[in-house]
């Protein structure tokens, strides 16, 4: 097994997902399959290949420090389920 049930529970918690017992079993199996599939890459010999994190060799994409127009308050808040005139409203955490 590439992944344990405990790891799946941990990752689910980090993602704030409540998984039922059935889901847990199912997810653990599916994630294991995915990891096994990706693990195929380990069969390649990468001794002389420089590690890379991006698919393209593009570097240094910058923008100048010039202000552009922002959205209006109303536009910013438009998609929010719970809000007032100026802010998003969420359950209090601390």
């Amino acid at each position: 097994m590439k992944i344990s049930r405990q790891e799946v529970e941990h990752v689910a918690h980090l993602a704030r997902l409540n998984l039922s017992e059935d889901d847990l079993v199912k997810m653990t199996g599916q994630l294991d399959e995915i990891l096994n599939y990706v693990a195929k890459l380990e069969e390649l010999d990468t001794t002389d290949i420089e590690p890379t994190t991006h698919a393209f060799s593009v570097k240094n994409a910058y923008r100048d420090d010039i202000a552009q127009e922002s959205l209006t308050q109303e536009e910013s808040l438009r998609n929010c389920a719970v809000r007032n005139n100026e802010a998003f409203i969420v359950p209090r955490i601390l």
């Binding site: 994190t53 100048d64 409203i89």
Partner: protein, 486 residues
Amino acid sequence: MVLRQIRRQRYMMNFETVIGLEIHAQLKTRTKIFCGCALSFGDPPNSHTCPVCLGMPGVLPVLNKKVVEYAIKMGLATNSQINRFNQFARKNYFYPDLPKGYQTSQFDLPIVEHGSVEIDVDGSKKTIGITRMHMEEDAGKLIHDEREPLSYVDLNRTGTPLLEIVSEPDLRSPQEAYAYLKKIHAILRYLDICDGNMQEGSFRCDANISLRPVGQEEFGIRTELKNMNSFRNVQNALEYEVRRQRDLLLDGETIIQETLLWNPDSNRTESMRGKEDAHDYRYFPCPDLVPVEIDEAWIDAIRKTLPELPDERKNRFIEEYNLPEYDAVILTGSRELADYFETAARLCANAKKVSNWIMTELLRELKGEDISGCKVAPEQLGELIAMVEKGTISGKIAKTVFIDMMATGKDPAVIVKEKNLVQVSDEGELQAMVEEIVAANPDQAEQFRQGKTKVMGFFVGQLMKKTKGKANPKMANELFVRTLTE
């Protein structure tokens, strides 16, 4: 009980404090780090947001070049290594002030590493290592409802560029931590890449602190302190935490590794009580942002723009103005204060006098306020000191004039004229009064003639009373001596 106290005292000396600081400096750019929204403080909530900083799906962040430039600047100013190749990573966690569900930061390849600054505590110098500095984005702001269990989210601050500066655990006392924090602050201000306002949060500091028995190599268990929003609070919180940890260790208890909040009202550190989840940020390279590769030409160009830094300015003050090192350290501790000194010193030949005035009268009357809000312009202070030097007013009167200046912002000459404080240096005028006083106090006059020179203080005091403190003290002394010994 007594035995225990004695035992405690004996062991007390044997702990060593180990502190490392994490500083977050908001960079003074015009726009956010990954989008063109303007930075603002105090504008209506959510009026400076766009799809990028709101964390909408499908958007593409683009790095603000100024942020990289400022990070390189700070790296060069702290003898650091600039990593020619660096990149951004995602730090994943959920919190309502973080709309994307991750903070874009740097992880294994930060822009700056292996730097150092020199601090000065009680006249001894020490080099403090800087582990790393990295670029990242700030989160939004939560305003908690006072009655209902709700919070209001303002995302104006989301995406504000931060430079996180992480020190080595080289600091051995709260005092050293304070000096280091001040030094980093001064350098950022000299470079003018950060406002440095701790109250408004543009300069923030967290601390890791642990104790270990002297001689032990490995570190003790540390706690992390947060919520210290002034220089004073940082030192107070660390001092409190040293005492707390020492007491626990002396009682044979173990320190719990946790995050503590400083409560400035109760002067204590308080546990967040398990509000914190086990950290598991699952960092990975950000696929949306391409790596940063810095060439020598850019670094050289930035190096040429570096201004005179606090240590250089301190050395120049010692040489150019002949100031003691102690004065130079304090005056150059802030760019504004150093500028203030130099402006005032230009108007007055005696630089040491200017330094004394700033370090005693001015800093006392400022009561911790920033020099930028001071009502007395440096030119006015220079003028006041020049008036004393020329003998127009006495040093004592000058101090009362100064208090007036701090309150009203008026020119010293105006106050001196309005209140008729010009020093009496007219010999004829003073001589008449001196003779009068000597005649009225024959006993004291006799004592003086018999060698009890201490009564001189009495005589000068009488003259000061008569002139409301305006007699030229040097002249007063001379006139009395001459009159009494005639």
